[in-house]
Symmetry: C2
Subunit: 240 residues, 2 copies
Amino acid sequence: MSSSGAAPGRGGNDGKPAMRDALVAAAFRLFLERGYEQTTVDDIVALAGVGRRSFFRYFPSKEDVVFPDHERCLADMTAFLYAGGDDDEPVRRVCDAARLVLLMYAENPTFSVQRYHLTKQVPGLRAYELSVVWRYERALAGYLRARFAGLRDGILRADVIAAAVVAAHNNALRAWLRSDGEGDAETTVDHALGHVREAFGAAPAPSVSGGPEDVVVIVSRRGAPLWRVVQELESALGRG
Amino acid sequence: MSSSGAAPGRGGNDGKPAMRDALVAAAFRLFLERGYEQTTVDDIVALAGVGRRSFFRYFPSKEDVVFPDHERCLADMTAFLYAGGDDDEPVRRVCDAARLVLLMYAENPTFSVQRYHLTKQVPGLRAYELSVVWRYERALAGYLRARFAGLRDGILRADVIAAAVVAAHNNALRAWLRSDGEGDAETTVDHALGHVREAFGAAPAPSVSGGPEDVVVIVSRRGAPLWRVVQELESALGRG
Protein backbone atom coordinates (compact mmCIF):
# COMPACT_ATOMS: atom_id res chain seq x y z
CA MET A 1 0.00 0.00 0.00
CA SER A 2 1.50 3.30 -1.00
CA SER A 3 1.82 5.95 1.64
CA SER A 4 -0.35 8.29 -0.40
CA GLY A 5 -3.09 5.70 -0.33
CA ALA A 6 -2.73 4.79 3.31
CA ALA A 7 -3.41 8.14 4.83
CA PRO A 8 -6.42 9.86 3.34
CA GLY A 9 -6.63 12.35 6.19
CA ARG A 10 -4.74 15.56 6.37
CA GLY A 11 -2.83 14.32 9.40
CA GLY A 12 0.37 16.14 8.67
CA ASN A 13 -1.20 19.34 7.49
CA ASP A 14 -3.87 20.47 9.88
CA GLY A 15 -2.68 19.18 13.19
CA LYS A 16 -4.77 15.96 13.22
CA PRO A 17 -2.83 13.33 15.10
CA ALA A 18 -0.60 11.12 13.02
CA MET A 19 -1.85 8.25 15.20
CA ARG A 20 -5.22 8.35 13.50
CA ASP A 21 -3.58 8.04 10.07
CA ALA A 22 -1.37 5.23 11.39
CA LEU A 23 -4.47 3.33 12.54
CA VAL A 24 -6.13 3.72 9.14
CA ALA A 25 -2.96 2.55 7.38
CA ALA A 26 -2.60 -0.48 9.66
CA ALA A 27 -6.28 -1.37 9.30
CA PHE A 28 -6.22 -1.26 5.50
CA ARG A 29 -3.00 -3.24 5.33
CA LEU A 30 -4.63 -6.01 7.39
CA PHE A 31 -7.99 -5.83 5.60
CA LEU A 32 -6.20 -6.33 2.28
CA GLU A 33 -3.90 -9.09 3.56
CA ARG A 34 -6.40 -11.12 5.65
CA GLY A 35 -9.81 -9.81 4.76
CA TYR A 36 -12.04 -7.46 6.70
CA GLU A 37 -13.91 -10.08 8.76
CA GLN A 38 -10.69 -11.84 9.76
CA THR A 39 -9.11 -8.66 11.11
CA THR A 40 -9.83 -7.64 14.72
CA VAL A 41 -9.35 -4.27 16.37
CA ASP A 42 -6.64 -5.97 18.46
CA ASP A 43 -4.78 -6.89 15.26
CA ILE A 44 -4.98 -3.28 14.07
CA VAL A 45 -3.72 -1.69 17.26
CA ALA A 46 -0.90 -4.27 17.51
CA LEU A 47 0.31 -3.40 14.01
CA ALA A 48 -0.04 0.35 14.61
CA GLY A 49 1.79 -0.03 17.92
CA VAL A 50 -0.85 1.73 20.02
CA GLY A 51 -3.36 0.69 22.69
CA ARG A 52 -6.98 -0.35 22.15
CA ARG A 53 -8.21 2.80 23.80
CA SER A 54 -6.47 4.92 21.15
CA PHE A 55 -8.42 3.12 18.44
CA PHE A 56 -11.78 3.80 20.02
CA ARG A 57 -10.79 7.38 20.69
CA TYR A 58 -10.86 7.94 16.92
CA PHE A 59 -13.26 5.28 15.67
CA PRO A 60 -16.45 4.07 17.38
CA SER A 61 -16.24 0.71 15.56
CA LYS A 62 -14.20 -1.27 13.05
CA GLU A 63 -16.55 -0.15 10.30
CA ASP A 64 -15.76 3.51 10.96
CA VAL A 65 -12.07 3.06 10.18
CA VAL A 66 -13.07 2.14 6.61
CA PHE A 67 -14.60 5.59 6.12
CA PRO A 68 -12.17 7.74 8.11
CA ASP A 69 -12.79 10.95 6.21
CA HIS A 70 -16.54 10.76 5.91
CA GLU A 71 -17.35 13.20 8.73
CA ARG A 72 -14.82 15.76 7.52
CA CYS A 73 -16.01 15.43 3.93
CA LEU A 74 -19.64 15.84 4.92
CA ALA A 75 -18.77 18.87 7.04
CA ASP A 76 -16.71 20.41 4.22
CA MET A 77 -19.52 19.84 1.74
CA THR A 78 -22.11 21.35 4.07
CA ALA A 79 -19.88 24.36 4.75
CA PHE A 80 -19.48 24.85 1.00
CA LEU A 81 -23.26 24.79 0.46
CA TYR A 82 -23.96 27.49 3.02
CA ALA A 83 -20.97 29.62 2.04
CA GLY A 84 -22.87 30.54 -1.12
CA GLY A 85 -25.20 33.51 -1.41
CA ASP A 86 -28.78 33.98 -2.51
CA ASP A 87 -27.55 34.71 -6.03
CA ASP A 88 -26.23 31.18 -6.43
CA GLU A 89 -28.57 29.15 -8.53
CA PRO A 90 -29.57 26.35 -6.09
CA VAL A 91 -29.24 23.36 -8.46
CA ARG A 92 -25.84 24.54 -9.58
CA ARG A 93 -24.75 24.92 -5.95
CA VAL A 94 -25.67 21.34 -4.99
CA CYS A 95 -23.97 20.04 -8.14
CA ASP A 96 -20.82 21.96 -7.23
CA ALA A 97 -21.03 20.53 -3.71
CA ALA A 98 -21.25 16.97 -5.06
CA ARG A 99 -18.34 17.72 -7.39
CA LEU A 100 -16.31 18.70 -4.33
CA VAL A 101 -16.99 15.31 -2.75
CA LEU A 102 -15.75 13.45 -5.81
CA LEU A 103 -12.61 15.55 -5.91
CA MET A 104 -11.98 14.65 -2.26
CA TYR A 105 -12.11 10.96 -3.23
CA ALA A 106 -9.82 11.69 -6.15
CA GLU A 107 -7.21 13.21 -3.84
CA ASN A 108 -6.32 9.68 -2.71
CA PRO A 109 -6.90 7.35 -5.64
CA THR A 110 -5.15 4.30 -4.14
CA PHE A 111 -7.07 4.50 -0.89
CA SER A 112 -10.40 5.13 -2.62
CA VAL A 113 -9.95 2.19 -4.99
CA GLN A 114 -8.95 -0.15 -2.15
CA ARG A 115 -12.00 0.83 -0.17
CA TYR A 116 -14.21 0.34 -3.20
CA HIS A 117 -13.08 -3.27 -3.55
CA LEU A 118 -13.38 -3.87 0.19
CA THR A 119 -16.91 -2.43 0.33
CA LYS A 120 -18.03 -4.58 -2.58
CA GLN A 121 -16.90 -7.72 -0.73
CA VAL A 122 -18.34 -7.07 2.75
CA PRO A 123 -22.14 -6.76 3.05
CA GLY A 124 -21.88 -4.97 6.41
CA LEU A 125 -19.73 -2.25 4.84
CA ARG A 126 -22.18 -1.92 1.99
CA ALA A 127 -24.92 -1.17 4.53
CA TYR A 128 -22.65 1.32 6.27
CA GLU A 129 -21.96 3.02 2.95
CA LEU A 130 -25.68 3.34 2.24
CA SER A 131 -26.09 5.22 5.51
CA VAL A 132 -23.16 7.46 4.55
CA VAL A 133 -24.70 8.19 1.15
CA TRP A 134 -28.02 8.87 2.85
CA ARG A 135 -26.43 11.56 5.02
CA TYR A 136 -24.94 13.32 1.98
CA GLU A 137 -28.31 13.21 0.27
CA ARG A 138 -30.05 14.67 3.32
CA ALA A 139 -27.47 17.47 3.54
CA LEU A 140 -28.07 18.41 -0.10
CA ALA A 141 -31.84 18.14 0.31
CA GLY A 142 -31.74 20.26 3.47
CA TYR A 143 -29.94 23.04 1.63
CA LEU A 144 -32.38 22.89 -1.30
CA ARG A 145 -35.40 22.81 1.01
CA ALA A 146 -34.21 26.05 2.58
CA ARG A 147 -33.57 27.64 -0.83
CA PHE A 148 -36.97 26.52 -2.13
CA ALA A 149 -38.80 27.60 1.02
CA GLY A 150 -42.13 29.14 0.12
CA LEU A 151 -42.11 27.75 -3.42
CA ARG A 152 -44.85 25.38 -4.41
CA ASP A 153 -43.68 21.77 -3.94
CA GLY A 154 -40.38 23.09 -2.60
CA ILE A 155 -39.74 20.07 -0.38
CA LEU A 156 -40.65 17.60 -3.11
CA ARG A 157 -38.41 19.33 -5.62
CA ALA A 158 -35.58 19.54 -3.11
CA ASP A 159 -35.76 15.81 -2.35
CA VAL A 160 -35.96 14.76 -5.99
CA ILE A 161 -33.07 16.97 -7.09
CA ALA A 162 -30.88 15.90 -4.16
CA ALA A 163 -31.46 12.23 -5.05
CA ALA A 164 -30.68 12.88 -8.71
CA VAL A 165 -27.46 14.71 -7.80
CA VAL A 166 -26.32 11.87 -5.55
CA ALA A 167 -27.11 9.28 -8.23
CA ALA A 168 -25.16 11.23 -10.85
CA HIS A 169 -22.26 11.67 -8.44
CA ASN A 170 -22.22 7.97 -7.58
CA ASN A 171 -22.39 7.01 -11.24
CA ALA A 172 -19.32 9.16 -11.92
CA LEU A 173 -17.58 7.90 -8.79
CA ARG A 174 -18.08 4.25 -9.75
CA ALA A 175 -16.83 4.92 -13.29
CA TRP A 176 -13.72 6.57 -11.89
CA LEU A 177 -13.16 3.80 -9.32
CA ARG A 178 -13.50 1.16 -12.01
CA SER A 179 -10.75 2.96 -13.94
CA ASP A 180 -8.62 2.21 -10.85
CA GLY A 181 -8.54 5.91 -10.14
CA GLU A 182 -6.78 6.62 -13.41
CA GLY A 183 -9.68 8.26 -15.26
CA ASP A 184 -10.32 11.98 -15.28
CA ALA A 185 -12.50 12.42 -12.19
CA GLU A 186 -13.30 16.05 -12.95
CA THR A 187 -14.54 15.51 -16.51
CA THR A 188 -16.49 12.42 -15.48
CA VAL A 189 -18.35 14.11 -12.66
CA ASP A 190 -19.02 17.28 -14.62
CA HIS A 191 -20.53 15.25 -17.42
CA ALA A 192 -22.75 13.30 -15.02
CA LEU A 193 -23.91 16.36 -13.11
CA GLY A 194 -24.59 18.13 -16.39
CA HIS A 195 -27.47 15.69 -16.89
CA VAL A 196 -29.03 16.73 -13.62
CA ARG A 197 -28.65 20.41 -14.33
CA GLU A 198 -30.19 19.89 -17.74
CA ALA A 199 -33.15 17.99 -16.34
CA PHE A 200 -33.86 20.50 -13.63
CA GLY A 201 -33.57 23.60 -15.66
CA ALA A 202 -30.28 25.01 -14.51
CA ALA A 203 -28.12 25.79 -17.49
CA PRO A 204 -24.40 26.63 -17.58
CA ALA A 205 -23.16 30.15 -16.80
CA PRO A 206 -24.77 32.92 -18.84
CA SER A 207 -23.24 33.91 -22.14
CA VAL A 208 -21.17 37.09 -22.04
CA SER A 209 -22.58 38.32 -25.33
CA GLY A 210 -25.53 40.68 -25.09
CA GLY A 211 -26.32 43.14 -22.35
CA PRO A 212 -28.03 42.00 -19.16
CA GLU A 213 -31.11 44.07 -19.96
CA ASP A 214 -31.84 42.58 -23.39
CA VAL A 215 -35.38 41.38 -23.61
CA VAL A 216 -36.08 37.86 -24.81
CA VAL A 217 -39.51 36.80 -26.03
CA ILE A 218 -40.48 33.15 -26.27
CA VAL A 219 -43.63 32.05 -28.00
CA SER A 220 -44.83 28.55 -27.40
CA ARG A 221 -47.83 26.38 -27.95
CA ARG A 222 -49.37 25.50 -24.59
CA GLY A 223 -49.26 21.83 -25.53
CA ALA A 224 -45.53 21.75 -26.27
CA PRO A 225 -43.50 19.57 -23.88
CA LEU A 226 -41.87 21.72 -21.23
CA TRP A 227 -38.40 20.41 -22.05
CA ARG A 228 -38.77 21.62 -25.62
CA VAL A 229 -39.77 25.07 -24.46
CA VAL A 230 -36.84 25.15 -22.05
CA GLN A 231 -34.52 24.13 -24.86
CA GLU A 232 -35.68 27.06 -26.95
CA LEU A 233 -35.42 29.33 -23.98
CA GLU A 234 -31.85 28.23 -23.29
CA SER A 235 -30.98 28.73 -26.89
CA ALA A 236 -32.55 32.21 -26.94
CA LEU A 237 -30.67 33.15 -23.79
CA GLY A 238 -27.43 31.81 -25.24
CA ARG A 239 -27.01 29.30 -22.44
CA GLY A 240 -27.88 26.04 -24.13
CA MET B 1 -54.00 -3.17 16.70
CA SER B 2 -56.73 -3.77 14.20
CA SER B 3 -56.77 -7.05 12.37
CA SER B 4 -56.50 -5.21 9.06
CA GLY B 5 -53.29 -3.64 10.31
CA ALA B 6 -51.83 -6.75 11.83
CA ALA B 7 -51.67 -8.90 8.77
CA PRO B 8 -50.24 -7.12 5.76
CA GLY B 9 -49.72 -10.36 3.88
CA ARG B 10 -52.30 -12.09 1.80
CA GLY B 11 -52.35 -15.00 4.19
CA GLY B 12 -55.95 -15.91 3.78
CA ASN B 13 -56.09 -15.34 0.06
CA ASP B 14 -53.19 -16.97 -1.68
CA GLY B 15 -52.43 -19.95 0.52
CA LYS B 16 -49.57 -18.36 2.51
CA PRO B 17 -49.63 -19.90 5.96
CA ALA B 18 -51.67 -18.08 8.54
CA MET B 19 -48.79 -18.79 10.93
CA ARG B 20 -46.65 -16.20 9.19
CA ASP B 21 -49.35 -13.56 9.61
CA ALA B 22 -49.82 -14.58 13.24
CA LEU B 23 -46.09 -14.07 13.87
CA VAL B 24 -46.20 -10.59 12.31
CA ALA B 25 -49.26 -9.68 14.38
CA ALA B 26 -47.67 -10.93 17.61
CA ALA B 27 -44.38 -9.17 16.84
CA PHE B 28 -46.03 -5.81 16.18
CA ARG B 29 -48.23 -6.08 19.25
CA LEU B 30 -45.12 -6.59 21.40
CA PHE B 31 -43.04 -3.96 19.57
CA LEU B 32 -45.76 -1.40 20.26
CA GLU B 33 -46.30 -2.45 23.87
CA ARG B 34 -42.69 -2.93 25.00
CA GLY B 35 -40.53 -1.42 22.31
CA TYR B 36 -38.59 -3.16 19.56
CA GLU B 37 -35.32 -3.62 21.46
CA GLN B 38 -37.10 -5.01 24.52
CA THR B 39 -38.90 -7.71 22.53
CA THR B 40 -37.13 -11.01 21.85
CA VAL B 41 -37.94 -13.65 19.27
CA ASP B 42 -38.85 -15.89 22.24
CA ASP B 43 -41.46 -13.36 23.33
CA ILE B 44 -42.92 -13.28 19.83
CA VAL B 45 -43.20 -17.04 19.41
CA ALA B 46 -44.68 -17.39 22.92
CA LEU B 47 -47.44 -14.90 22.10
CA ALA B 48 -48.07 -16.46 18.69
CA GLY B 49 -48.15 -19.91 20.28
CA VAL B 50 -45.59 -21.47 17.93
CA GLY B 51 -42.03 -22.74 18.24
CA ARG B 52 -38.81 -20.78 17.62
CA ARG B 53 -38.09 -22.80 14.52
CA SER B 54 -41.32 -21.62 12.92
CA PHE B 55 -40.22 -18.03 13.34
CA PHE B 56 -36.91 -18.57 11.59
CA ARG B 57 -38.61 -20.56 8.86
CA TYR B 58 -40.29 -17.32 7.76
CA PHE B 59 -37.91 -14.62 8.97
CA PRO B 60 -34.10 -14.79 9.00
CA SER B 61 -33.98 -12.21 11.84
CA LYS B 62 -36.11 -10.03 14.08
CA GLU B 63 -35.59 -7.13 11.67
CA ASP B 64 -37.16 -9.07 8.82
CA VAL B 65 -40.49 -9.42 10.60
CA VAL B 66 -40.80 -5.61 10.49
CA PHE B 67 -40.80 -5.72 6.67
CA PRO B 68 -42.72 -8.92 6.04
CA ASP B 69 -44.00 -7.98 2.60
CA HIS B 70 -40.88 -6.44 1.18
CA GLU B 71 -39.80 -9.45 -0.90
CA ARG B 72 -43.28 -9.92 -2.35
CA CYS B 73 -43.63 -6.22 -3.07
CA LEU B 74 -40.24 -6.06 -4.79
CA ALA B 75 -41.10 -9.14 -6.83
CA ASP B 76 -44.50 -7.72 -7.81
CA MET B 77 -42.94 -4.42 -8.82
CA THR B 78 -40.26 -6.14 -10.88
CA ALA B 79 -42.84 -8.36 -12.58
CA PHE B 80 -44.89 -5.27 -13.41
CA LEU B 81 -41.86 -3.54 -14.98
CA TYR B 82 -41.08 -6.41 -17.30
CA ALA B 83 -44.71 -7.14 -18.15
CA GLY B 84 -44.67 -3.98 -20.24
CA GLY B 85 -43.76 -3.85 -23.89
CA ASP B 86 -41.31 -1.86 -25.96
CA ASP B 87 -44.04 0.68 -26.63
CA ASP B 88 -44.20 1.69 -22.98
CA GLU B 89 -42.42 4.97 -22.43
CA PRO B 90 -39.69 3.91 -19.94
CA VAL B 91 -39.94 6.85 -17.51
CA ARG B 92 -43.69 6.42 -17.32
CA ARG B 93 -43.27 2.69 -16.69
CA VAL B 94 -40.95 3.18 -13.70
CA CYS B 95 -43.26 5.86 -12.32
CA ASP B 96 -46.19 3.46 -12.61
CA ALA B 97 -44.12 0.77 -10.89
CA ALA B 98 -43.34 3.12 -7.98
CA ARG B 99 -47.02 4.05 -7.82
CA LEU B 100 -47.81 0.36 -7.41
CA VAL B 101 -45.49 0.17 -4.40
CA LEU B 102 -47.22 3.06 -2.67
CA LEU B 103 -50.61 1.52 -3.29
CA MET B 104 -49.35 -1.70 -1.68
CA TYR B 105 -48.47 0.30 1.43
CA ALA B 106 -51.85 1.99 1.29
CA GLU B 107 -53.61 -1.40 1.33
CA ASN B 108 -52.77 -1.64 5.03
CA PRO B 109 -52.75 1.87 6.46
CA THR B 110 -52.67 0.86 10.14
CA PHE B 111 -49.74 -1.51 9.67
CA SER B 112 -47.81 0.94 7.47
CA VAL B 113 -48.24 3.82 9.94
CA GLN B 114 -47.19 1.63 12.90
CA ARG B 115 -44.07 0.52 11.05
CA TYR B 116 -43.28 4.13 10.14
CA HIS B 117 -43.24 5.14 13.81
CA LEU B 118 -41.25 2.06 14.77
CA THR B 119 -38.65 2.63 12.05
CA LYS B 120 -38.20 6.25 13.08
CA GLN B 121 -37.40 5.16 16.65
CA VAL B 122 -34.95 2.31 16.01
CA PRO B 123 -31.69 3.16 14.22
CA GLY B 124 -31.11 -0.47 13.23
CA LEU B 125 -34.44 -0.57 11.44
CA ARG B 126 -33.64 2.69 9.69
CA ALA B 127 -30.48 1.06 8.28
CA TYR B 128 -32.50 -1.98 7.24
CA GLU B 129 -35.00 0.28 5.49
CA LEU B 130 -32.21 2.03 3.57
CA SER B 131 -31.12 -1.34 2.20
CA VAL B 132 -34.73 -2.08 1.24
CA VAL B 133 -35.05 1.26 -0.56
CA TRP B 134 -31.74 0.59 -2.27
CA ARG B 135 -33.06 -2.69 -3.72
CA TYR B 136 -36.14 -0.95 -5.14
CA GLU B 137 -33.93 1.70 -6.69
CA ARG B 138 -31.65 -0.91 -8.25
CA ALA B 139 -34.66 -2.77 -9.67
CA LEU B 140 -35.95 0.42 -11.32
CA ALA B 141 -32.47 1.34 -12.55
CA GLY B 142 -31.94 -2.18 -13.93
CA TYR B 143 -35.12 -1.93 -15.97
CA LEU B 144 -34.20 1.53 -17.28
CA ARG B 145 -30.63 0.46 -18.10
CA ALA B 146 -32.05 -2.31 -20.27
CA ARG B 147 -34.51 0.06 -21.94
CA PHE B 148 -31.78 2.66 -22.53
CA ALA B 149 -29.23 0.10 -23.78
CA GLY B 150 -27.27 1.53 -26.68
CA LEU B 151 -28.31 5.10 -25.93
CA ARG B 152 -25.63 7.61 -25.10
CA ASP B 153 -25.25 7.88 -21.31
CA GLY B 154 -27.94 5.23 -20.96
CA ILE B 155 -26.62 3.93 -17.63
CA LEU B 156 -26.18 7.41 -16.21
CA ARG B 157 -29.68 8.42 -17.23
CA ALA B 158 -31.13 5.19 -15.86
CA ASP B 159 -29.46 5.68 -12.48
CA VAL B 160 -30.45 9.34 -12.17
CA ILE B 161 -34.08 8.74 -13.14
CA ALA B 162 -34.41 5.73 -10.82
CA ALA B 163 -33.10 7.80 -7.91
CA ALA B 164 -35.48 10.65 -8.72
CA VAL B 165 -38.44 8.25 -8.90
CA VAL B 166 -37.58 6.70 -5.54
CA ALA B 167 -37.17 10.14 -3.95
CA ALA B 168 -40.54 11.30 -5.30
CA HIS B 169 -42.18 8.06 -4.15
CA ASN B 170 -40.66 8.38 -0.68
CA ASN B 171 -41.73 12.00 -0.43
CA ALA B 172 -45.31 10.99 -1.21
CA LEU B 173 -45.12 8.00 1.11
CA ARG B 174 -43.91 10.10 4.04
CA ALA B 175 -46.64 12.68 3.41
CA TRP B 176 -49.23 9.92 3.41
CA LEU B 177 -47.78 8.24 6.53
CA ARG B 178 -47.75 11.57 8.36
CA SER B 179 -51.46 11.89 7.56
CA ASP B 180 -51.78 8.63 9.59
CA GLY B 181 -52.73 6.87 6.40
CA GLU B 182 -55.81 9.03 5.97
CA GLY B 183 -54.61 11.16 3.05
CA ASP B 184 -55.27 10.28 -0.57
CA ALA B 185 -52.27 8.07 -1.40
CA GLU B 186 -53.05 7.93 -5.12
CA THR B 187 -53.30 11.68 -5.67
CA THR B 188 -50.21 12.32 -3.53
CA VAL B 189 -48.01 9.87 -5.38
CA ASP B 190 -49.26 10.91 -8.81
CA HIS B 191 -48.46 14.51 -8.03
CA ALA B 192 -44.96 13.65 -6.81
CA LEU B 193 -44.16 11.39 -9.76
CA GLY B 194 -45.49 14.03 -12.14
CA HIS B 195 -42.44 16.12 -11.20
CA VAL B 196 -40.10 13.37 -12.27
CA ARG B 197 -41.88 12.80 -15.53
CA GLU B 198 -41.79 16.50 -16.24
CA ALA B 199 -38.08 16.79 -15.50
CA PHE B 200 -37.14 13.85 -17.66
CA GLY B 201 -39.13 14.73 -20.71
CA ALA B 202 -42.17 12.56 -20.25
CA ALA B 203 -44.80 15.12 -19.50
CA PRO B 204 -48.12 14.39 -17.83
CA ALA B 205 -51.22 14.32 -19.98
CA PRO B 206 -51.92 17.80 -21.34
CA SER B 207 -54.02 20.09 -19.22
CA VAL B 208 -57.69 19.93 -20.11
CA SER B 209 -58.18 23.66 -19.72
CA GLY B 210 -57.35 25.66 -22.82
CA GLY B 211 -56.81 24.26 -26.27
CA PRO B 212 -53.48 22.68 -27.14
CA GLU B 213 -52.78 25.50 -29.57
CA ASP B 214 -52.99 28.35 -27.02
CA VAL B 215 -49.99 30.59 -27.34
CA VAL B 216 -47.96 31.50 -24.28
CA VAL B 217 -45.60 34.45 -24.37
CA ILE B 218 -42.82 34.84 -21.84
CA VAL B 219 -40.84 38.04 -21.61
CA SER B 220 -37.63 37.97 -19.64
CA ARG B 221 -34.56 40.02 -19.03
CA ARG B 222 -31.59 38.24 -20.54
CA GLY B 223 -29.79 38.55 -17.20
CA ALA B 224 -32.50 36.81 -15.17
CA PRO B 225 -31.42 33.46 -13.70
CA LEU B 226 -32.69 30.70 -15.93
CA TRP B 227 -34.31 28.86 -13.05
CA ARG B 228 -36.45 31.90 -12.31
CA VAL B 229 -37.51 32.07 -15.94
CA VAL B 230 -38.34 28.36 -15.93
CA GLN B 231 -40.41 28.88 -12.79
CA GLU B 232 -42.47 31.53 -14.55
CA LEU B 233 -42.74 29.37 -17.60
CA GLU B 234 -44.04 26.43 -15.58
CA SER B 235 -46.54 28.67 -13.92
CA ALA B 236 -47.69 30.12 -17.27
CA LEU B 237 -48.08 26.64 -18.71
CA GLY B 238 -50.02 25.54 -15.63
CA ARG B 239 -47.53 22.80 -14.77
CA GLY B 240 -45.69 24.28 -11.81
